[in-house]
Symmetry: D2
Subunit: 257 residues, 4 copies
């Protein structure tokens, strides 16, 4: 006896001759006509995207795809070496690193922007309050600061410029800039808006729900990781990485207990 | 003491002010200028893609993104329900299903096309030989046949038409069509070229190495799965799926041994 | 130039003739002498376990291994069907479901027990406070309640009896029982301690850190999932599951937008 | 309309008061009475194991759990650093490396042993044939050779001694020894049986199906990885690994294309 309510799906249906995705005929309307980014937005939002949405999502996807030999990339290369016949597993291993430490700050920043936009006292007062409470707690503000890109993350102004060249409401970008001003004032020094902070604002402008923003990073990174797998297949690094790490981390003897 | 040769990477490098990907300045040349699909091709091949490459890769990425409640989608929805704070894990779980049973046939078909294109006796003779040896072994020819899309997979002619409208060498498509003709002749009935067969030919035309073709499907499916995660977050199905499966598969008592 | 402090590892080292794990010679002292559970405790804690630790960890590992066609099991069976040559991927897909919704409550309950044990006002007052604040917030108390095992989870008394038959300090068990009494009093009805609640207390008694308790469930479930993979290989269910789910969840048309 | 035959499961069933696993009452017969290894064998084979099966499986599980900073361990530590709130994802990432390159040789060796045991011409002739065909193909014989443990893998004689001290049929062990003799003769030098070769023979002796042998390694490694996660949580290495790898692998400039 079923006790759970029956769900439905609005994403896709098919029969022998037709596949419909989000109300569109895949063959007649989408293949050869939509780009990947348009199709991703249709899949996610259920609506044909505007050119502005496409351009902004492309900017975010391009920004997040690649940043060298990151933890995700190293994991992917090692797992590909261990299981070369299951490429999907190597990609999955790397994607499991798209977690709270790095990319999750995008969602954290988006939550702060939403909090500011809903605050009855206005952007400035709430931004100051956010900066103060993070400083007091000794916690970094999500979307701000970068270990290498100092004093400024070079991606951020370019990302914001892309959005500002488009027809967007601008509320999330305005909130991010206000938060940046208050962070600098409260901390008494300039702290860069980083690429995840800019991504949070851009994705907010085009209506990507905060709860699946991490999914945008997952998609972008999956493409980046496939590129690393191909390079790994042509010029293997995994055995070298293994040896290098093993030598770099010494064994600390403990008494047998 | 290092024993492994030192590898290098040609993908990316960065300093505090600059990020270079495949020889291009990410900020100055790519963000806001390249689409996701262009960036993916640059990341994978190391070269700026041609419009033809972009258009064909988009067609493949759009085709493979979504096909309803597949095993990958079901796995993703169940894992999202079990670990909603780790969206990347739900995507990874579904991507682990981009394996040999379904998508892997793309690589198998690509290998047959490569075999034909390298055969000294020519396409037709080798295609006939391939069809015969599969029939004798009782094995399906990779890239042919579909359980639901009969007699023809509707995606295939559209995908081929997209490629034929572009400036491509056409060798892989010609090989696929020849193989199709010989499969029909040898089996004595029409067997559709399916979407993975068409994908193999299209990706071959634009120079995607056979060994990472599965990666194209992984990227496309990652976007599809993010769409399902968002729908799952709005209208949960996982508890219903669990209950439905549990009721549909009865327990078969065995004696305690 | 290295900026990060160099870590060390105390887990293992080896040369051509010897492998040492936690200070013990793997060949001379462990293989053929230690059980899996003893080795797991040595690996995790760095110390040879007591018989009490082994017996209690065995009880938890046995309890959590199997509970029928759970979301994790369904995901594993579907992924095994999609990628049968990568068994590790099918196990990994299922393990990704050992997340916050079900198993994570073990850690949540352990945190409550630690809070009680550290409370200056004593167990009873803090237990009452915990029960009250959960009731007011309308949130379930981690480690309490079960959708099917009502009014009582049959595993719990047995697990507690195993621990009480051993030489353990008993502080975590006492805390759990006090919390149970206060939950019943505050909610005005009996709410069962479930198996994750009992696991939290038992693992606390033997010194397993709260932060890796989920790892115990991961290990136990990995064995359970391997059993399901073998049954799936002998009597496939994945195609049936796919069809069943696809039929049970109808498509909800939306207008093309 | 269902088209797939309805499967059943013989693993578990439950109602509000009872959970049965493989025909046994979990609470009355297993918790507090079975060890993890006994429960794993029951789960996998459907039968209560003999003491010999338990002792041999324990020897294999203990052998494979830990071997220092392997690719799986490095992947797990990096992913744990990136997503510390999803411990299961870190374990899964490492387990994805239990693939064909290292552990998969266990299954390959088991297949060779099965081939020998089924050969009408007898063990010796088939072993010689196997060694010859691998030598001619320039391929290593699965289960033989080790990059570090030369001339002999120290685990192997100990593992075989454990099995020989038990009441086992001895057919798989005899086959492995015969294969070893022929490998040495054909290659003209001593090649060690490694731990995966010994594991293949031991698991064959106790009736573990070749097709799920990799699952034994997955279970064993999952415990090893949890130990590394705990050490990582106490003494982080991931940022150091990242920096070390990034510095050790130089960027190779390519012209922008």
């Amino acid at each position: 006896m079923r006790t759970k309510p029956q769900p439905t799906t609005a994403i896709a249906t098919s029969d022998s001759k037709t596949i419909r995705v989000r109300g569109h005929d895949l063959v007649e309307e989408l293949i050869g006509q939509a780009t990947f980014t348009e199709m991703f937005l249709l899949q996610l939002t259920g609506k044909r995207p505007t050119p502005t949405q496409v351009r902004i999502l492309d900017a975010v996807l391009v920004t997040l795809m690649e940043h060298g030999l990151t933890p995700s990339v190293i994991a992917t290369r090692l797992i590909y070496h261990s299981a070369p016949d299951a490429l999907q597993a190597a990609v999955a291993a790397g994607l499991l690193g798209v977690g709270t430490t790095f990319i999750g700050t995008m969602e954290g920043c988006a939550a702060l922007l939403e909090e500011m936009l809903a605050a009855p006292e206005g952007l400035e007062a709430r931004a100051r309050d956010i900066a103060l409470r993070h400083k007091e707690a000794g916690k970094p503000v999500h979307g701000f600061g970068h270990p290498h890109h100092k004093p400024d993350d070079p991606r951020t102004p370019r990302m914001l410029a892309v959005a500002e060249g488009q027809d967007v409401p601008g509320r999330h970008i305005a909130a991010l800039k206000m938060l940046s001003a208050q962070v600098d004032a409260v901390y008494g020094r300039h702290v860069t808006i980083n690429a995840t902070g800019a991504s949070a604002a851009l994705l907010g402008e085009i209506g990507i729900p905060q709860k699946v923003m991490r999914g945008v990073a997952v998609v972008s990174r999956s493409a980046g990781l496939v590129g690393h797998i191909y390079e790994e297949s042509q010029q293997p690094s995994a055995a070298f990485i293994w040896e290098t790490v093993d030598e770099a981390i010494p064994y600390r003897a403990q008494d047998a207990a």
